[in-house]
Amino acid sequence: MAHDRPPPPLKPKRRWQKIDVVIIGLAFVAIAYVVYRVEHVLVYKWEWQPVLDFVAYKNPDTGEWVANLLIQGLLMTLRLAFWGTIAAAAIGLVMGLCRISQNLFLRATARIYVELIRNIPPIVFIFVFYFFISSQIMPIIGVDDFARNASPETASIIGFLFSPMDLFSNFLAGVICLAMFEGAYITEIVRAGVQSIEKGQWEGARAIGLSRLNVMRDVILPQAIRKILPPLAGQFITLVKDSAIVSLISIQELTFSATEVAATTTRVFETWIVVGAMYFVICYFFAVLFGRLEKRLSQDRR
């Protein structure tokens, strides 16, 4: 099928063009102007220390540095993103397979799920869904009682992996909300991944007598997963940022901690700049990491 392939794209020119210089120059002028306005026109005294104290502070008694609210919030954000991605990947895999199933009912269910979630503002979905699951489902499965009666060892393990015991049911609700939400996008990633495998693979595998299930499990999925993993990693980064919306439902993640710090210190701009930088560092770190992994994976295959 070689004749189907488009010709390889031309290599982009690496040389600086006049227009690049002009654009970069304009960008610098714009930045300089903003800095000038902030420094000389806005009456604002920048004070970073009170906010930085909430990143980490030195305990005056022991002289040790202790992670404060913002670092704890960041860790909570990462835990949310980690468990959220795992749960969302599970939902996405199941729903993605339903999406391409031959069964009309499964296909319709998955379609409704995806369209419903993609076309509702996340904030509305999370608000309604959170109050539904945490007020209706959590008591039924007894999460609160479990959390309250847990032994100290269990509590410390869960505190490390998930969240402090007293907020465990909140955390669980937040993870489920995020997973439901991101699951819709992963569903589409899975569907696209599976559908990107050439038809010939299906036909070949069916021709040697494999059942539909076997074809999917042993032939298609292993190939599809390689295509799915990179966008899935990207979805993890999206989830780190999207997890900010669960701050609405009092989960003590980075954005929620930031609102508290901003309210307490009254240093609103400093707080959000620091928090923005924290999000950036984490997300960029993962982007670079996943980029490397992807490169290595694609080398291994050859």
């Binding site: 404060n68 608000f127 909140n170 439902i249 009092s250 901003a262 307490t264 009254t266």
Partner: protein
């Protein structure tokens, strides 16, 4: 229309619809006292309190712990009930839905009694009387009396949400309002000379004026409005309402509430505990 209000409303409609089924089943009359949240708290050994960060009601100390007027109040309530206290910091916009969804037992969060809120939750008798104060920009509004602010040339900044902006709209109907999500942003508008005055809950305006002596002044030392802050509880729980109301009554009579209120509200001697500049 306020987006948060719509969302809150939608969420509550959902919760109520879900709750209706359960109510019909329970034999309400008999089980009231055994189902009271008071019994639940005693059995659990923990009082769960919903609150939101708001200086000086509740704020973060340097080590990240919670301090403030209502933190003291909630700790004292728990002490008198002989249980532990657990704070659930919650975004203000979601605090009533969270109460109804049983995320905590009671809101001790400087919530003013309003008829609209009272349709959804029960209030105890007030445990504090705060009010709204105004600071004004010396640059724009020097020498103006309170009545002068009711003019179409005047811009007043206020924090979005029920009380401060409503007070501003009522007191100064001719002035244009700019609404902000946060006190600090609204305050910044005044300092930058984009708004003449700024209204929010006492004692913040006074603290700010003290911090920026040449820039800000208070047109009046009096509070512009008088508020009544109370604990908020889920509806249908007379035992809990009776207990918390009488707790407030007792500690109003013996002066404990006034003493704590004065400590947090009249000056900033507590400021070295907080990371505030």
């Amino acid at each position: 229309m306020n987006l948060r209000k719509i969302i809150t409303g939608a969420a509550m409609a959902g919760i109520m619809a879900l709750g209706l089924g359960g109510v019909a089943k329970a034999d309400v009359a008999q089980s009231l006292s055994s189902e009271s949240v008071i019994e639940e708290i005693k059995k659990r050994g923990v009082l769960r309190v919903g609150m939101s960060t708001f200086v000086p009601w509740a704020m973060r100390a340097k080590d990240g712990g919670l301090i403030g007027f209502e933190i003291d109040v909630a700790k004292k309530v728990a002490e008198d009930m002989e249980v532990e206290v657990e704070f659930i910091p919650t975004q203000w916009s979601g605090i009533i839905p969270a109460l109804i969804a049983k995320k905590f037992d009671v809101i001790i969060g400087g919530m003013s009694i309003t008829p609209a809120r009272n349709l959804t939750v029960n209030f105890t008798i007030p445990y504090a009387h705060s009010g709204q104060q105004m600071v004004a920009s010396m640059e724009l509004a020097d020498g103006m009396a309170v009545d002068d602010f009711n003019s179409s040339d005047v811009t007043i900044a206020c924090r979005r949400g029920a009380t401060p902006c409503n007070a501003a709209a009522k007191l100064f109907p001719k002035a244009s309002l700019s609404r902000f999500d946060d006190d600090a942003q609204a305050f910044q508008e005044v300092v930058n000379g984009n708004a003449h005055g700024f209204i929010t809950s006492a004692p913040k305006p006074r603290f700010w004026m003290e911090k920026h002596p040449g820039k800000l002044f208070m047109p009046t030392e009096e509070n512009l409005t008088q508020g009544d802050e109370a604990f908020a509880l889920r509806k249908g729980d007379p035992d809990a309402l009776n207990f918390f109301s009488n707790w407030i009554q007792v500690h109003t009579s013996n002066g404990w509430l006034q003493e704590r209120h004065d400590f947090w509200f009249t000056n900033q001697n507590w400021a070295d505990q907080v990371a505030e500049n």
